[in-house]
Amino acid sequence: MTIAVDPALAGADADGLLARGRWLASDIYTIAWRYIVAIRRQPETLLFTVIQPVMLVLLFRYIFAGAIHIPGTSYVDYLMPGVFVQTVSFGSVSTAVGLAEDLQKGLIERFRALPMARSAVLSGRTVADLVRNLGSIVIMTGVGFLVGFRVQTSVPSFVAGLGLLLLFAWTLSWAFSLIGLSATNSETAQVMAFPILFPFTFASSGFVLVKSMPGWLQAFANNQPVTKVVNASRALMSGGPTATSTEEAVAWCLGLLVIFIPLAVRKYRRTA
């Protein structure tokens, strides 16, 4: 047995603001690293991250493209921003499930007894989600190009569109952290997450024109964040007026972040 115990304080931190900032960044990185390593080793997360996005692109491209005609644009170009948004939305379920699981298994308990920054658990998780979503989007873009998707605007504009998608994805991570922390186990987290996602992703401009929906549904579809984000990224990637739609989409994201970050952090502090 080679376990010597040193009575000196372990990892005594310098108390300077700079040192604390450095450790906060380090803690966020460590937590994010842990989730990213886990993606490769968890078949179900890999499914969310890689296979499901590819399937969505292919299914929508070949099933709906023949049936849905969008005036003035090819359906693939219309579709892709919708698939991007749907993928990051559905992917956020794994944020809720992952956090619920960590709570259930007692891992968060261990984190609470460590001298790490408390805020790093949630921020680290949302940073890992950003990396995962970026991966999904890159894969989908590649597959999209193979089946006829073309950027109709410019590269900077396309990149701005991707940036907006990531901002939306990050917003959802915070919102679904709250669900994960509120659920008693991972199954409940999943059951809670999907009914919230379905109306927002499908009753949106993601796959069809909102005009084709009944009037009462149009009122909802036109005024909810998924539609706003889809419209803005569609304008940025495939053309159309970008200014108002982008402002609206960014405003939605920031507004939701202002609500959900404090709620999630408060829930984390209270969940013992």
């Binding site: 047995m1 080679t2 376990i3 010597a4 115990v5 040193d6 009575p7 000196a8 304080l9 372990a10 990892g11 005594a12 931190d13 450790w23 380090s26 803690d27 460590t30 937590i31 690293w33 842990r34 390593v37 886990a38 080793r41 968890q42 709570l103 259930q104 298994k105 007692g106 891992l107 308990e109 261990r110 984190f111 609470r112 007894a113 460590l114 001298p115 790490m116 790093a120 008693t184 186990n185 969940t271 013992a272």
Partner: protein
């Protein structure tokens, strides 16, 4: 006078809006370099006490300190000097053993290179070197528990909390864990250990507090606790409760403490078990009371409780441990344990 390494004074904690009183004025203390055993059945408040002492929970009332640092006001400092291993192995299933220890090292703010060295040192110390690069999913229960303990030691904490470290382990796993804990104690760690097993407290702890319904009902050395118990429990099985009561009346005076009737059996605790057993058979035979079973066993937590409180340890059957283990397992599977709060 030296400051106790671990001190809790009048801790109170309720859950479910005051419906569940987990701690009801619990006080305890442990001198530096000693082992304090916290003995009690499921639901006695042991885990809640550990969670408060390790800064995870805040008490409703009362105070606690580790090496003189208040667990609420100086929580950040306390977290640097404690290690915690729970009854549920709190490690990441998807990471390898080495990655888990590296993660804890980094989150304890130890430089990456030192964290890696420390991880390998601990893996070797716990006999996990061969499994170091395998995800935890492939580990056995005993291996997980060892890794969990290793994770608690990453920062070389001078104060260690072990919450039921052997609950759910097989006899060999329990034996191995005891040897490991003894090595830690020999190296000077102050240890607070919760357990449902009198045998475990007896073997590992210098002092024991017995907890029931959120407060300490007895304390002393294991020898002092057992002194009132005698050394052997004789269990006499009879046909029915009426026969058992009759037998108890006949056997009164045979041992220092009065016979205890439990359903259709009678229990006697005495220093000389075999002799008591012989007397029991002789007495009952003389009065034509038929004996259906006779067992001799070591005193358990249940017997301590019986002695101290007059009631059995609730929610846990301490006589063989398997009931308690099943209860713990059921809780672990239901997912309530990690955050349920006792």
């Amino acid at each position: 006078m030296a400051q106790p390494a671990i001190e809790a004074v009048d801790l109170e904690k309720t859950f479910a809006k005051g419906e569940v009183r987990a701690l009801d004025g619990l006080s305890l203390s442990a001198e530096a370099g000693t082992v304090l055993g916290v003995l009690g059945p499921n639901g006695a408040g042991k885990t809640t006490a550990v969670r408060i002492l390790s800064t995870i929970l805040q008490p409703d009332r009362g105070r606690a300190s580790i090496l003189g640092h208040d667990v609420v006001k100086e929580a950040a400092t306390v977290r640097r000097v404690i290690g915690l291993a729970g009854q549920y192995a709190t490690v990441d299933e998807n990471l390898t053993g080495r990655e888990n220890l590296l993660m804890v090292g980094r989150l304890t703010h130890i430089a990456k290179r030192d964290s890696l060295v420390r991880a390998d040192e601990l893996l070797e110390g716990f006999g996990l070197t061969d499994a170091a690069n395998r995800p935890l999913k492939t580990y056995s229960g005993g291996m997980r528990r060892r890794l969990d303990l290793a994770a608690a030691l990453v920062g070389r904490p001078p104060v260690l909390f072990l919450d039921e470290p052997t609950t759910g382990l097989d006899p060999q796993g329990r034996q191995d864990m005891w040897v490991t804990i003894e090595a830690l104690v020999a190296a000077g760690t102050t240890l607070l250990l919760t357990t449902q097993y009198l045998e475990e407290a007896d073997r590992l702890a210098g002092r024991v507090v017995v907890v029931d319904h959120g407060k300490v009902i007895a304390e002393g050395t294991p020898a002092e606790l057992k002194a009132g118990l005698g050394e052997t429990v004789v269990v006499v099985g009879l046909h029915d409760p009426a026969q058992a009561r009759k037998a108890a009346a006949l056997l009164t005076g045979l041992t220092e403490s009065a016979p205890h009737v439990d359903g259709s059996s009678v229990e006697l605790t005495g220093r000389a078990g075999p002799r008591v057993a012989t007397e029991v058979l002789r007495t009952l035979d003389a009065h034509a009371v038929e004996v259906t079973g006779l067992t001799l066993r070591e005193p358990s937590l249940d017997d301590v409780f019986l002695l101290l409180t007059g009631h059995r340890a609730e929610a846990a059957d301490g006589t063989d441990g398997s009931g308690a283990e099943q209860a713990a397992l059921a809780r672990a599977m239901a997912g309530g344990g990690a955050r349920g709060g006792r």
